[in-house]
């Protein structure tokens, strides 16, 4: 399945550039940055989900020794070009503007919304003083559940708003009415996937410092999008582009929410400018639960029409998406869900009505998977229903409906959010499913299951297919420069947050320029190192930045060989780059990369060898508008204790195709991490809000992340490689793949294990009490 690798670095699991510093405790995360005289911020945050602010009294806080300032909107508004953070992606679907204020001053719309910033000599003092800021509130009724909030007379999430619809649109094609009218079977169900929290192990954090010599304001932020952050800050603060720099230090995990620009970034930058002092804010975990964006609450009322053989005729329904309190990114998650649900399958008729509903909860923006896990959960649940009703094997129903391998590239009638046609570019979905089923022993499972049942044990197997849109364009620039000491410097707008981005870029460049990883220095995510950039999201960086790195390295390679051929007086074809030298193939005459770099830097009054343009530097912005689609099939085996409701995940088999793998071990690492996240979404992670939209799971003791003891034995992989035709390296993204099919596969497996009770799973996560309730309900119904 995997083509032999004819490369030396790319495609091999080489040592990661990032590891040594991280392992030795020498990495530099944002909270590791310190300046003499640095001040610290603590935020005063709303304790209410919805309230009007009558007044803010900061006098007691200001009187406290060690407090330098307490900032509210009144203090900062004169210094800002806008009181609002207008970062929403464009869409005609919005029904109202819900931009976040930099600080709330009239109304708060979720618990945790920032109202004031207390700046003091230490975080300890800042927190003491924050407790002394008195805010007089009048509480208001809340929009809690997004379904209830759609009612015409529902309390408004925003005071005075005409309704709670943040945005609405529909998506579809074909003729569902006719398809459903003539169908042999129509099945109807409502599904719900619950919201969760990203929980990067490092929370967010920001440090800002204004250099009095250069007047450059530098912001270090634990962000996935430094270039976007710089753009927002230049606009807000009215700074020239060359007087503002945003740097991502080492980032302790992103998983989506760190792609958003936050009020705290604006406040820290502004405070450093106002107080002429370095300023730091580090989010604590409690803040992460209420001030960092969340995702996944979606309710789907769905109908599927199939013929007598289980072939899909149509799919239609309503998607109600909890948008949270503000538009911090756009309609992109709901759009992504709606555009993902059909992808693995041939669905001839499709219609989805989509409502994004504002609630008094933390704003919703992408978390790893970004709407796709929900869509896959719904589609795969529906197909299990079809299998059950029609008494066809679950895998067989899917096989009959998967887009055939021979149909690639498969033009779907769907469009991306930018209006580009969704074309599944490559892959063989039925072969991928077969590979997973073979590895999982799908055919023989029934025997094992019956044996287990005879012993009173309930085991089950589940399967789910996914297709992931990856490599969001249009570009991610990379520059490659050979310095005069022979070191190769790579800079990119791509942002590293743990996905081995630096290693990936170094591999692609090293392959062309001497294959010595230790000779490559990578800067990822520094606006001072490269002018443009988009950053890390949408499983895009290997595809987009990797392609630019490849193009830039090839350009430099060509120039190096040309110059070396002049310096050595031999043909270019006779030369190779090996380590830090260019030499005659097989040995002999050679010239160091350092000498070539010096030669092309020029000498006054002398020719540059080969008469090339000066310098050994190339910046490439390879433009790829179309997304490349990765796919996979996950099979999961579980055992359910019907007395306690405990679910044990016994086995995970993952067959997938992300095109050419640049680094197999990193690919597997990304997928396993996603699987762990998905198992959490399926079984553990519950972001609890009470009826007043007050969050009540605000510690890691209450909000459960999966730990080592709940993880299954090592994931069994089947790697398929169908190179993407859309980029030179043949790659597709993989960063989010693991999470996408997990809730669907686990639900399928649990339902299978509990088949004797005839349970119907329509929501995740499933806690042990949920499992018991399912069994009880099914037993009562059956009795």
């Amino acid at each position: 399945m995997i083509a032999p690798v004819d490369t030396r670095i790319v495609g091999h699991s080489v040592e990661r550039l990032e590891d040594r510093a991280l392992l030795m405790g020498q990495a530099r995360f944002v909270d590791d940055i310190a300046f003499p005289g640095m001040l610290h911020i603590a935020f005063v945050r709303s304790p209410h989900a919805h309230a009007l602010i009558n007044s803010i009294d900061k006098s007691a806080a200001l009187d406290m020794p060690g407090v330098h300032a307490v900032l509210t909107m009144d203090d900062i508004a004169p210094l800002l070009a806008d009181r609002l953070l207008k970062v929403a992606l464009p869409s005609p679907a919005y029904r109202q503007e819900l931009h976040r204020p930099v600080l709330a001053d009239k109304e708060v719309v979720h618990v945790g919304e920032a109202i004031a910033a207390v700046i003091a000599e230490s975080r300890y003092v800042a927190e003491d003083a924050a407790a002394l800021v008195f805010v007089d509130f009048d509480t208001l009724p809340v929009a809690n559940d997004c379904r209830d909030a759609m009612a015409p007379d529902a309390p408004r999430a925003h005071h005075g708003a005409p309704h709670n619809i943040a945005a609405e649109f529909d998506m579809g094609y074909g003729d569902c009415v006719s398809a459903f009218a003539g169908a042999a079977h129509v099945l109807k169900e409502t599904y719900w996937q619950h919201r969760g929290v990203a929980q990067s192990m490092e929370c967010r954090g920001v440090v800002a410092n204004l250099d009095p010599m250069s007047d450059v304001l530098t912001l270090w932020s634990s962000t996935q999008t430094p270039h976007a952050g710089k753009r927002v800050l230049c606009g807000l603060l009215g700074r020239d582009e060359d007087k503002m720099r945003v740097i991502t230090p080492d980032v302790g995990g992103g998983f989506g929410p760190k792609l958003v620009f936050y009020p705290e970034e604006a406040i820290v930058a502004l405070a450093a400018q106002m107080l002429q002092a370095p300023v730091k804010w580090i989010e604590d975990r409690r803040e992460h639960f209420v001030a960092t964006t969340q995702e996944r609450d979606q309710y789907w009322d769905m109908e599927i029409a199939v013929d007598a053989q289980g072939k899909i005729l149509g799919l239609r329904g309503l998607l109600i998406h909890d948008h949270g309190a503000y538009t911090a990114r756009g309609v992109n998650i709901a759009y992504g869900s709606a555009a993902a649900i059909t992808l693995p399958y041939v669905v001839p008729n499709y219609f989805l009505d989509i409502k994004l509903v504002a609630t008094n909860k933390v704003s919703v923006t992408p978390i790893r998977g970004a709407g796709q896990p929900q869509a896959v959960f719904v589609m795969e649940r529906l197909l299990d229903r079809v299998a059950r009703e029609l008494k066809i094997d679950r895998a067989e129903v899917r096989r009959r409906n998967l887009v055939p391998g021979a149909a690639m590239p498969y033009k779907t009638p769907l469009k991306t959010r930018g209006g580009m046609q969704v074309v599944l570019d490559s892959g063989d979905y039925p072969a991928t499913q077969k590979a997973a089923l073979d590895a999982a022993g799908w055919e023989d499972f029934k025997i094992r299951q019956n044996d287990a049942r005879a012993q009173g044990r309930y085991i089950g197997i589940g399967v789910a297919n996914y297709v992931e849109g990856t490599g969001r364009g249009p570009f991610e620039p990379v520059s490659v420069r050979v310095a005069e000491n022979g070191r190769i410097h790579v800079a990119s707008g791509a942002a590293a947050m743990g996905q081995s981005t630096k290693t990936m870029l170094a591999q692609v460049v090293a392959e062309q320029l001497g294959c010595d990883m230790s000779n490559i220095v990578v800067v990822a995510g520094d606006t001072g190192a490269i002018e443009l950039g988009m950053g890390g999201f949408n499983s895009r960086q290997a595809v987009m930045a990797g392609s630019s790195a490849h193009a830039a390295a090839l350009k430099i390679r060509k120039k190096i060989l040309l110059v070396a051929s002049h310096m050595l007086n031999v043909g270019e074809q006779a030369l190779e780059i090996e380590g830090r030298v260019v030499r005659l193939k097989g040995g002999g005459a050679q010239v160091e990369l350092a000498e070539i770099a010096k030669a092309v830097a020029g000498l006054p009054g002398y020719y540059i060898p080969g008469n090339v343009e000066p310098g050994l530097q190339a910046t490439e912005h390879v433009i790829i508008n179309d997304m490349t689609y990765a796919n996979g099939t996950c099979a999961v085996e579980v055992e359910v204790d019907v007395e306690t409701g405990l679910v044990t995940v016994a086995r995970v088999v993952f067959a997938h195709d992300c095109g050419k793998m640049l680094h197999p071990k990193i690919v597997e690492g990304q997928i396993i991490g996603g699987i762990a996240h998905g198992l959490g979404n399926a079984l553990f992670e519950w972001m609890a809000y009470d009826e007043n939209a007050q969050p009540v799971s605000n510690t890691l003791a209450e909000y459960l992340l999966i730990t080592a003891t709940e993880m299954p034995p090592p994931v069994e992989f089947v790697h398929l490689e169908s190179p993407s035709p859309l980029n030179e390296l043949g790659i597709k993204g993989v960063g989010e793949s693991g999470v996408i099919p997990m809730t669907a596969a686990v639900a399928s497996a649990i339902e299978d294990a509990l088949a004797p009770f005839n349970v119907n799973i329509t929501k995740v996560p499933l806690s042990p009490p949920d499992i018991i309730a399912l069994i009880d309900a099914a037993t009562r119904k059956g009795a």
């Binding site: 995360f29 590791d32 310190a34 490092e202 998983f255 003891t709």
Partner: protein, 165 residues
């Protein structure tokens, strides 16, 4: 600086080096290590004792430095992630974590390492389940733990073969 409260002078040993320093009585041990001694390898992930990123060895025992005050370390001997390697030569666990891709963002890694150094000292031949239980109080959002477990088993084997203590 923390002008709101009293200070005490504490003396302690960290990674074999003696320190004596005045600290505010309410400063956590994690903050003291990170911001006063500038040993920033110890990470703070939750400040409520669940995530394990701040785990250090306190007189050889793993402990959450976010749940202790700096003054409690007076007269004690501490090891942090910076103290695990032998000069430039990585500890076998550090080496194995790299080889098994047992870290991605690396934020939880220092706490994993200190926890696992303690495990392998107390149990040089752990099973995979022993490792899972040992790190069940250390959260990682990136790796799904798999590489960490296999790395630990590999390091244990190499340490047994090499007589590394």
């Amino acid at each position: 600086m923390d002008s709101a409260v009293d200070t005490r002078t504490i003396s302690l040993t960290v990674n074999g080096k003696a320190y004596s320093k005045a600290v505010s009585v309410r400063m956590t041990l994690a903050d003291f290590l990170r911001h006063e001694l500038r040993l920033t390898g110890t990470h703070v992930g939750c400040e409520h004792g669940v995530c394990g990123a701040c785990t250090i060895l306190f007189d050889g025992m793993s402990a959450r430095s976010c749940l202790m005050l700096a003054v409690q370390a007076n007269g004690h001997e501490l090891t942090t992630v910076e103290g695990l390697a032998n000069g430039d030569e990585m500890h076998p666990l550090q080496q194995a974590l790299s080889e098994h891709h047992g870290l991605q963002c690396g934020f939880c890694t220092p706490g994993m390492l200190t926890t696992l150094v303690e495990l392998l000292r107390d149990n040089p031949s752990p099973s995979a389940d022993d490792v899972r239980i040992a790190i069940s109080g250390n959260l990682c959002r990136c790796t799904g733990y798999e590489g960490i477990i296999s790395a630990t088993l590999d390091a244990a084997e190499k340490m047994r073969a090499g007589g590394v203590k």
